[in-house]
């Protein structure tokens, strides 16, 4: 899993089977200091509660589909939690 920031949502009426009813979020990947890194990805909302600008953690690859009701769906990123706090060890 990695940290991400929800930038917005994607509405797509024509989607692959199994994705109807799945919220799609635009997520900006963050580095471990919560700074933007890399290009935004489109992630399925596995907790169905992530709002705009929220700090989330998301999972990639095969496990992303495992975050949804229907697990045999073409999803490669999924938000699996809303982050309350990141406590970094002061080195």
């Amino acid at each position: 899993m990695q940290l991400g920031r929800v930038l917005g949502t994607v509405v797509a009426s024509v989607k692959a089977d199994g994705l109807d009813g799945v919220r799609l979020l635009i997520v900006q990947p963050l580095d471990r200091h919560q700074q933007p890194r890399g290009r935004p990805v489109i992630a399925a909302d596995g907790v169905a509660m992530a709002g705009p600008d929220e700090l989330v953690h998301y999972v990639s690859a095969r496990e992303a589909a495992q975050a949804l009701e229907e697990t045999f769906v073409p999803v490669d990123h999924a938000v699996v939690g809303i982050v309350d706090a990141v406590e970094e060890l002061s080195q």
Binding site: Q2, H57, S60, A67, V80, D84, L89, Q91
Partner: protein
């Protein structure tokens, strides 16, 4: 598996059910010499790793779910070991 160093924790109350009651550790991944390689992963801890410790990360879903006795669920990265010693200069330490 991957080498990593625990550099923090992630607190999350609204999350996928498989993650509930599990500690999420923020881990810098390391190169063979034990130096941070610029990437990081959030991993579920099952060995009680502490902050600053060098650890072994399993980053593959099927085995990760096996470790927490689950068949399905969006779990992929698990801390499966705490490293005592690294020798990458060819010396062999049993």
């Amino acid at each position: 598996m991957k080498l990593a160093r625990v550099v923090g924790t992630v607190v999350s109350t609204i999350q996928a059910e498989i993650l509930d009651d599990r500690k999420l550790l923020l881990c810098d991944t390391l190169d063979a010499a034990g130096q941070p390689d610029g990437n990081y992963l959030i991993a579920v801890d099952v060995v009680g790793a502490g902050a600053g410790e060098t650890v072994l990360l399993l980053d593959e879903g099927t085995s990760a779910r096996q470790i927490v006795d689950r068949v399905t669920g969006p779990l992929r990265t698990v801390v499966v070991g705490i490293v005592d010693e690294l020798s990458d200069d060819g010396t062999w330490t049993s």
